[in-house]
């Protein structure tokens, strides 16, 4: 069964153009100039119920605009979409009962009240039966480990604690499809991992379809089975995440800071090259297809006096560039998906 079906979805905005300077401001006041900006340029996409789909792209690619059209927030300029069989912008309220949405930058928790109060409000909003609500709330509190935070005003929670509450709240009414727009933005590695585990668990146990946008390749690797990459408002890649990992996400960056006077290995292990080298700080590129990250770290930790070390995924821009350069062979939008 299809969870969503999108055909030729387009969204354009009129943007006021104003050159810099006071004179230009006055001119703009009298004779404003508008240009049409295309945020989404004919997206075509299908997703099966129960899928975990990563919707990727650089800033300004049209990810959030697409999600906003699929949740009924924005009306499209043209095109068609059906989410759970409904047209989002025409059947917004009915659809809202069956979907959930988490925006990393927009909270649905009440800032001055504890999450328990927002959960109460959401139970009324989604018209949950009392017994069902209490059972569901307790289940989510246990699985998301929210017990210590449920009675604390949201303003006093850390970002990680708040996001866990936020995502648990989005699952309260058992949405069939959950839209997550950068849910891990600004979170530390441990919290990110826990949030991914919890979302994956809901997908496994309740069959919730997950539609995720993120700039963090780890979100995609660990949570999603399919990746759709968009750029300039159109789909440029659509394939299983395994292929994206195999063909694009093959490189990790290791930053090393050595103690004073310490020296790096005489010879770098196979699959490792120095991208930047300084007297005590190094940026190394590790090709994970030829060297395991564990072996590389073991080699450095065993032989160098390390003061600090970080491991990073390639930035999304590099992923997009690799897709453009044809390193990954996903299907283009015109051929359809699934």
């Amino acid at each position: 069964m299809l969870a969503l079906e999108v055909e030729g979805l387009v969204k354009t905005f009129l943007v006021k153009r104003k050159p810099e300077g006071f004179k230009a401001s006055v001119r703009s006041l009298l004779r404003p100039e508008w240009t049409e900006k295309t945020a989404v340029a004919g997206i075509r996409l299908k997703a099966e119920a129960g899928e975990t789909l990563a919707f990727l792209g650089p800033n300004g690619a049209g990810k959030s605009t697409t999600i906003k059209m699929l949740t009924g927030i924005l009306h499209p300029s043209s095109g068609h979409a059906r989410v759970l069989g409904m047209v989002p912008w025409k059947e917004r309220a009915a659809l809202a009962f069956r979907i959930g949405a988490v925006f990393g930058q927009k909270s649905q928790l009440w800032y001055h009240l504890p999450p328990a109060d927002t959960f109460e409000l959401l139970s009324r909003m989604y018209e949950l039966g009392r017994a069902d609500y209490l059972r569901r709330r307790d289940e989510l509190v246990e699985r998301f480990e929210l017990g210590p935070y449920m009675q604390t005003p949201v303003r006093k929670l850390s970002l990680g604690e708040r996001m866990r509450c936020e995502i648990a709240a989005a699952f309260l009414h058992r949405p069939e499809l959950l839209f997550l727009d950068e849910p891990t933005i600004g979170l530390d590695v441990i919290v990110k991992r826990r949030i991914r585990e919890l979302i994956a668990e809901r997908n496994r146990e309740e069959g919730t379809t997950v539609f995720l946008t993120s700039h963090d390749p780890s979100d995609i690797e660990q949570l999603c089975r399919r990746a759709v990459v968009i750029h300039h408002g159109t789909v440029i890649f659509d394939a299983p995440v395994e292929r994206l990992k195999r063909e694009v996400l093959t490189c990790k960056t290791v930053r090393l800071k050595l103690r004073d006077g310490a020296r790096l290995l005489e010879k770098l292990p196979g699959g490792v090259r120095a991208a930047e080298a300084g007297p005590s700080a190094w940026r190394l590129s590790v090709d994970t297809t030829t060297a395991s990250i564990e072996d590389v770290l073991a080699a450095f930790v065993g032989h160098c006096a390390i003061e600090d070390m970080t491991i990073e995924d390639p930035p999304m821009e590099d992923v997009i560039r690799a897709v453009y350069e044809g390193k990954a062979g996903g299907r283009p939008a015109e051929e359809g998906t699934v």
Binding site: L74, K106, M125, E127
Partner: protein, 278 residues
Amino acid sequence: MSTAVSLTGGRGSRIRRAAGIARYVLTCWKLNLAAAMEYRASFFMLAVMMFVNNCIWLVFWAIFFNRFPAVNGWELRDVMLLWGISAGGFGWSSVLFGNYPRIAPIVANGELDVFLTQPKPLLLNVLVSRMSLTAMGDFLFGVAIYALAGEHTLIGAAKYALGLLISGLLFLFVTLAAGSLAFFFGHAEGMAFQLFNGLVALSTYPTDIFKGTARIVLFTVLPAGFISYAPIGLLRRFDGTFVWLAAAAVAAFGLLAVSLFAVGVRRYTSGNRMAMRG
């Protein structure tokens, strides 16, 4: 899988839906009050300060009427009841539907997103999601004025309640209509704010001091006259024509406001500003 009620078909379904909305609105008001009381000192200070602020204006009018006992037939008691209706009406509407003066910034800053992903009627959901603390003082002031200068009979109380209803709804609908222009013009905050302030200010002066064009304006585009004439046309003597015209004005501005909002939402462009519910 979802436990949500069906939104289509059948009278029973519509009744269930209405009951669901009513329960949601009541919970919203309860939580708004709880959120306000998170800062008890600020809550009481703001409410008391607004009460005192209104009292100062009445002292000014008392001094005025001490020198000139009647102005175009208006006496101190009429002006007191005028303030009772104006402040009381503004008070209840801002306590229960506290987001109506903020519609323009909410639209311009893209803060409708979260509301649009929720399954409740959008406009109602936005309006009830905030409660004005200072307005509590206004409402209590209005009730205190009625207790002090109003007609203490069942009919007197009913007429005062009708005055509060007309006044509150006019504040709500006129400001909502002005704020909804933000869907069409972008930054309409300034204009909506000025219109709102104009309505509040003009609704606290006796209608009969305005003549000619100003009076026409007061009963058309900026309908403060339907609030400020209530002490005479509704409380002192029940003028059926005035009351029906006031009801028609409420209906007309209500229709205008709801239509502008409904048409405007189709043009909503969202935004990327960080937002959190207060």
